[in-house]
Amino acid sequence: MAIKTRNFNVARQQASTNIELIWWVFMRVSGVLLVFLVLGHIYMNNILISNTSIDFDYVASRFSQPLYKVYDLVMLVLAMLHGTNGLRYIIDDYVHHDGWRNIVKYALYFVVAVLITTGTMLLFSFPFNKVGG
């Protein structure tokens, strides 16, 4: 394995706040919540029914119930933030070139921001009967 040694001082200059601690705690808190949310979600959509039976009507009926709106919104945001921060760790680990690392990270943040926004819009723009179909 070719390893390019960067050193700890370089890293310290990059961050000297407690933001890393906060993210660390967030990973754990969101993790616990996600256990229930995600496993519950899978149970409902993959075990109770067959995933292949899911279609627009199913999605529409689900998203029209306020409880699911909240459930899915919390799950969406937590999973996105949790996953993104997780991937940030991984990018920090494997992408050594300073410039590339930032490009990759910001590309990730951009995609996630877009998806969180559209996902939220999706949940709150229901019912979408108005938008054709």
Binding site: I3, N7, F8, A11, R12, N18, E20, L21, D92, Y94
Partner: protein
């Protein structure tokens, strides 16, 4: 018994890339891997290069990757390896200088970053500062560290991310954070908590498995994480 010693060799003055070299040796089951390396160096190939000093696991010179695991060459007996093919490579994640010798500078830089010394500016008493055996026991494990780097260079995070401060530095921080006489935790927490600090540890436990002093490295790291967390909330 007859053993095959395979060493990953690299001489920057002659080689483009590291390459394996094999040596056939006669060995006793109770021989140390260090003895085998010495046999090669002294009888066959004087250019084989490695660090060593004490020969009994206390100076921390001879950490290397033996049969795929970080160990001290002077503390690993042939009979512990259960095989007659012994592979030896330099520890990972630090630049190789020659054969089994790596540049330890980044390792010691991380060590220094955690302020590994007693911080207490109060004027000391006439006699010793008092400390109960219980208070002393809390930080005992960290005092055993011989700075061999076996832990840090076994850590999968450190291999790929040299900015990670590494388990050894954290063990040495633990030794002071939990010393009842020390007052420097604010500074130390700052060094540990930043980017590349303790939060990079993914609890992979290779460090704990590798430590030749049987220090429960991951446990100490987790204690430090909790101490920092409690300190800030």
């Amino acid at each position: 018994m007859r053993v095959t010693l395979k060493v990953l060799r690299y001489n920057p003055e002659a080689d483009r890339a590291p390459h394996w070299e094999s040596y056939q040796l006669e060995a006793e089951p109770t021989d140390r891997v260090l003895d085998l390396l010495h046999n090669v160096k002294w009888d066959t190939d004087g250019t084989l290069t490695f660090r060593r000093s004490c020969g009994h696991g206390i100076c921390g010179s001879c950490a290397m990757m033996i049969n795929g695991v970080n160990r001290l060459a002077c503390k690993t007996l042939v009979q512990n390896l259960d095989t007659d093919t012994i592979t030896v490579e330099p520890i990972r994640g630090l630049p190789v200088e020659k054969d089994l010798v790596v540049d330890m500078a980044p390792f010691f830089q991380a060590f220094k970053a955690v302020k590994p010394y007693l911080i207490n500016d109060d004027p000391p008493p006439e006699r010793e500062r008092l400390q109960s055996p219980e208070e002393r026991a809390v930080f005992d494990e960290g005092t055993k560290c011989i700075l061999c780097a076996a832990c840090t260079t076994s850590c999968p995070v450190f291999w790929v991310n040299g900015t990670y401060i590494g388990p050894s530095a954290i063990v040495n921080a633990h030794r002071f954070i939990f010393d009842s006489r020390d007052k420097g935790n604010g500074e130390r927490f700052k060094a540990l908590s930043g980017g590349g600090g303790i939060w990079r540890c993914r609890t992979a436990y290779n460090c704990t498995e590798a430590c030749p002093r049987d220090i429960p490295v991951t446990e100490l790291i987790e204690e430090v994480k909790r101490a920092i967390m409690v300190n800030y909330v």
